[in-house]
């Protein structure tokens, strides 16, 4: 192992030790040195493994061996890439659809949470990833969706489906209201102001007792229902079936997530998406290439908020309960973590990060108290090792392959 890697290993291990030992070792019950050492050991092990792999791959012996294997490997790789992406997507979809059939109720519930966060992550990706506007108050739109559905359902008995468009419009309007004053801001100022707006919405929900019942929250919303025709005696009747079971709710959010993936993907590859990316790259050049940047930035806020609003409405109807404390600043951070860890602007990356970041802490209950610590660590490590995210955005690479086929020939 080259000495630079040894040095890197020692520095990183010590750094993580300093970070982990006091925080994991000092839970409320007292200093648990064994657990802290265990967590640290795992990190150090992973790091050693990674660095070792890297130096082996860099060594001359490996290079020459790889040279001999290269034709074989590229043939294998070709065989994998020859299969169209659509087939992989179908397999993935099939796996996701089959998941509730093999998982227990608890796991299905975790799956639902993951998918909600996938939708949120993709929505935020429009704002952060495509248009390049840092938004730390994103969870507010999730709250808008949840409360829109809750209030309309409780007071007017409107169904989930009729509340969806209302929630989308309200979410988009809130997105514009919050987006408008921030249009001229950049970077850190934008982050602070959006964070403030996010908190304002939460505080309003918390204190407007008459409407929102304050911190007690709202209770007793109906689950989403679907109607189907039934051929009983005397002709056709519409029967409504309430999606009460976890399984049916899982399929509903899966549908929403799939539609979100398709929607964001389409936006990404459209005239609007290209204009957003242009704004992210160079706002002045975009404006001077004829892109109305002000309007498009507002649109990005509105579209992002609309997706969050749908997720919020689903969330409230799933629990039949909502309260302002679901929408704290930390939630915005988690969604932002999903976007950054997954790879800004990368749809598969965000889907993966949404599932990993929500499922892992959820399943390993032990870790739950240290969730934010782990998030922080993961972010720090990612920024050092892989700043482009788990699965970097591939629009360019993909277009490179598709030019002859889809992009140009379609």
């Amino acid at each position: 192992m080259p000495s630079s890697n040894v040095k890197k290993f020692i520095v990183y291990s010590l750094f993580m030790g300093i970070l982990i030992l006091p925080m994991v070792g000092l839970p409320s019950t007292g200093f648990e040195i064994t657990r802290a050492l265990l967590v640290w050991g795992v990190f150090v092990g992973i790091l050693a493994f990674w660095l070792l792999g890297k130096s082996i791959r860099g060594s001359d012996a490996f290079q020459s061996a790889a040279g001999g294997l290269a034709p074989f490997r590229s043939r294998l790789f070709d065989n994998f890439t020859k299969v169209p992406t659509k087939i992989y997507l179908c397999l993935l979809l099939f796996a996701l659809a089959a998941y509730p059939q093999v998982a227990n109720n608890y796991m299905v519930d975790v799956g639902i949470t993951c998918l909600i966060y996938v939708v949120l992550g993709l929505g935020l990706d429009i704002v952060v990833g495509l248009a390049g506007l840092l938004d730390l108050g994103y969870i507010a739109f999730y709250a808008v969706g949840a409360y829109t559905y809750s209030l309309l359902n409780l007071h007017f008995g409107l169904s989930f489906w009729s509340c969806l468009p209302i929630g989308i419009v309200l979410g988009a309007v809130c997105g514009c209201i919050i987006g408008y004053p921030t249009l001229r801001m950049r970077g850190d100022y934008l982050a602070i102001v959006t964070m403030g707006f996010g908190e304002i919405i939460r505080l309003v929900l918390n204190n407007w007792d008459k409407l929102t019942k304050g911190p007690n929250g709202l209770l007793g919303m109906a689950k989403p229902a679907i109607g189907y025709p039934s051929f009983a005696e005397g002709g056709v009747k519409w029967v409504s079936y309430s999606l009460k079971s976890l399984h049916s709710l899982y399929y509903l959010i899966l549908l929403i997530a799939v539609l979100t993936v398709i929607g964001v993907g389409r936006l990404n590859n459209s005239r609007i998406g290209r204009a957003w990316i242009a704004i992210r790259e160079d706002e002045v050049a975009a404006e001077l290439s004829g892109v109305p940047t002000t309007w498009l930035k507002l649109l990005a806020y509105a579209m992002g908020a609309a997706f969050a609003s749908v997720a919020g409405a689903f969330f409230a109807s799933k629990l039949s309960y909502t309260n302002p404390n679901f929408f704290i600043f930390m939630e915005s951070c988690i969604v932002l973590c999903i976007v950054v860890l997954g790879g800004v602007g990368s749809i598969p990356g965000i889907v993966l990060a949404g599932i990993v970041l929500i499922a892992v802490p959820e399943v390993s209950r032990e870790l739950q108290n240290y969730r934010m610590l782990v998030f922080g660590l993961a972010m720090a490590v990612m920024m050092v090792l892989r700043p482009e995210g788990l699965i970097p955005a591939t629009r360019h690479k993909r277009e490179l392959h598709e030019t002859e086929g889809e992009t140009y020939g379609e």
Binding site: I272, L299, H396, E399
Partner: protein, 257 residues
């Protein structure tokens, strides 16, 4: 009346008068060059025309419409396009995508059409690609269409900037030092390209330091020094003008020292 008319234009940056009471007419279909030593205020003139900032005084009229307080994207839509002295491409986008962004202001499909992939939207996306490919073909960049903009050689990046500007379907093209950093062969190609563009009906408003290029293709040359117009005329008239030689060579030699 001329296509673009500047009347009594001034621009003040704090204590500095970058452009001082400038009158300028650009007539349709011609190649007009604005020259002058570094810091003379040439880029500032372009910035005011394209609405990066408004002039402190004076009016800018384009085809009879006052531009002074329009947003830049509206000015571009009115038919003026520009390139930048320090290249400002969208670096992580491909060459094709850069040109597609230029077509934004001539196309319509919004977010909803994109979400639902309406037939109209699909058709328009196809047209955008076809049009962008035509423009790349015209500028000889078609082989690079899938490269990242930042991977292009310098001269091609400058041409891509022109391509993106041309994509906005302008009547008038403002080029800010397009030959900067080019070798003589690339400059010669650029010269042909500018003439070719003019022949498609574009008015060319050029800011350039390369005198062979300027004197070779311009119909009118305007000379700016310390924000003031000190001479205007055909290349020949300007080259023989005493004040120009003094101002120009004076600063030039100081610069070299």
């Amino acid at each position: 009346m001329a296509e673009l008319v500047l009347r009594n234009i001034s621009k003040r940056f704090g204590g500095l008068l970058a452009v001082d009471n400038l009158d300028l007419d650009v007539s349709e279909g011609m190649i007009l060059s604005l020259i002058g030593p570094n810091g003379a205020g040439k880029t500032t003139v372009f910035n005011m025309i394209t609405g990066v900032y408004p002039p402190s005084h004076g009016t800018i009229t384009y085809r009879g419409n006052k531009l002074n307080h329009l947003r830049s994207n509206r000015i571009i839509r009115n038919g003026i396009a520009r390139t930048f002295q320090n290249i400002r491409l969208f670096k992580s986008m491909t060459v094709l995508e850069n040109v597609q962004v230029g077509l934004h202001c001539r196309t319509k499909s919004g977010a909803f059409r994109a979400l639902f992939r309406t037939p109209h939207q699909k058709q328009e996306e196809k047209e955008i690609i076809d049009r962008a490919m035509e423009i790349l073909e015209f500028l000889g960049l078609v082989d690079y269409r899938n490269e990242y903009a930042s991977y292009l050689p310098y001269g091609d990046q400058r041409r891509l900037e022109i391509a993106r500007a041309v994509a906005t379907q302008p009547h008038m093209l403002l080029l800010d030092e397009p030959a900067a950093g080019m070798n003589p062969r690339e400059t010669a190609e650029l010269m042909e390209l500018i003439i070719k563009l003019r022949d498609t009906g574009l008015t060319i408003f050029l800011v350039e330091h390369d005198m062979r290029l300027v004197m070779g293709i311009s119909e009118i040359v305007t000379v700016l020094d310390h924000g003031q117009k000190i001479a205007e005329g055909t290349p020949k008239q300007v080259q023989e003008n005493e004040r120009v030689i003094e101002a120009y060579l004076g600063t030039k030699s100081k610069e070299r020292a």
